[in-house]
Symmetry: C2
Subunit: 253 residues, 2 copies
């Protein structure tokens, strides 16, 4: 049986990145797409609990859901797919998801939701807002996905792939840790047509810490970055240290 | 100078939990509250990038923002607070945030955003939807916050506190790792007044894995759970293993 592949993203089902991914992944298996009806960037792991969702079927194995990437994966697994997928691939995101971005990213969240349901998952991003090099990014994702299908992944770990804008399919892969990116802490203040103030969160990327071995450095070096991202957020090392905080269990003075 | 304390939550500025927290924290320092204007549960780290935000001043040091907990912390730091806070405390959430909940939780995300800005942070939840025991939970949070103000926290680590419903302020504290909770994978399907189908994500909590040392077990044992949560999501152990995936860098056949 060919692998069943679930594809989602956060740029929305009409984004060019997801179309490139569908094409590249169809060489590996039976592709089902369940993706947000509209752009959902920076929604992170948000789940829609307080509103109903609609499912719009676009083609035989292609569905738009009026929610977040997490909603899409949740609905796909419980209402749409004929069986459990063998892999979930989320992307190709238009713009990098490196370092702390991973925390905010809807693209990574789509893959995370599948990971939490014990489905091996890959998130893939094209590390430039300006580039349209989605086919190369999709080909890189397919290469990683083929390895995942062959080798599996440990429970609770997904692979986060970032592809530089200016490389071809033969670019070297680098296995990386997550780095640290900086954005301008900018909030634009303005007045609306009724002269009431509003605030808009924005800010261009300012750069990243130059740390060898990180996703940021790998992409700057024109390599395809592959980072293992874990779902267990416990900081085990500091957990040992916390044992010394004995004042919490002393009787109040 | 008294510590400057930033308080936020995800249940909204009018929730009883945040009022109990403001009261308890005011013993430790100068409290500023910047919280969502409406309930934001399960929004995770979502940031509002595509819409403007409004700030409604409710009192001298109390502001409602029409966005997510992440938005609130971002706006507080850049537009509202007179200086950098010494600590951020998010909560008291009505309902547990244990195990995988941490990934979806807006309460934890509020503390995370401050952590990413290198502000020591604590998230606190009352582990029951039925209990109104917010004063005990807020007292526990204040106790943990006092230790954090005295000792500090490592960069990129926050403390996630869960308080059982049926304990007093003298309940024992336990330092825990994150456990695994289960929810029913339930999507309710129904028709709207125009006979179009809609889908609603829901599902009651089914239980949790019985793993000694976890937050879930500690709360079940009537202890106040304190878990260190990290912002670096790299799975370092598997990163070593990935070095063996040499097929990614072999020339295509």
């Amino acid at each position: 049986m060919r692998p069943l592949i679930l594809i989602t993203n956060d740029d929305g089902i009409d984004a060019p990145g997801i179309k490139a991914l569908e094409k590249a992944m169809s060489a590996l298996g039976d592709v089902w797409t369940v993706a947000p009806a509209s752009e959902q960037s920076a929604v992170s792991h948000a789940i829609t609990l307080w509103n109903p969702l609609r499912i719009h079927q676009r083609a035989e194995q292609r569905f738009a859901v009026t929610g977040t990437p997490t909603d899409c994966v949740y609905i796909a697994l419980s209402k749409i797919l004929p069986r459990r997928p063998d892999i979930c691939v989320s992307g190709v995101n238009h713009g990098a998801n490196m370092g702390d971005d991973v925390i905010y990213s809807g693209t990574v969240a789509g893959a995370s939701e599948a990971t939490l349901q014990d489905i091996p998952s890959v998130a893939v991003s094209l590390a430039s807002y300006k580039s349209q090099n989605f086919d190369t990014a999709a080909a890189a994702a397919a290469k990683v996905a083929a390895s995942v299908l062959k080798r599996g992944l440990p429970r609770g770990v997904l692979l986060n792939v970032n592809v530089p804008k200016d490389v071809g399919v033969d670019a070297p892969f680098k296995f990386t840790k997550l780095g640290r990116r900086y954005y301008g802490q900018i909030v634009t203040e303005n007045n609306d047509p009724r002269n009431k103030p509003y605030y808009w969160i924005g800010g261009a990327e300012l750069g990243f810490d130059d740390i060898p071995g990180t996703d940021c450095n790998a992409v700057a070096d024109h390599c395809i970055s592959v980072s293992p991202v874990q779902m267990d957020l416990t900081h085990y090392k500091f957990l040992d240290e916390l044992g010394k905080w004995t004042e919490l269990n002393e009787a109040a003075e």
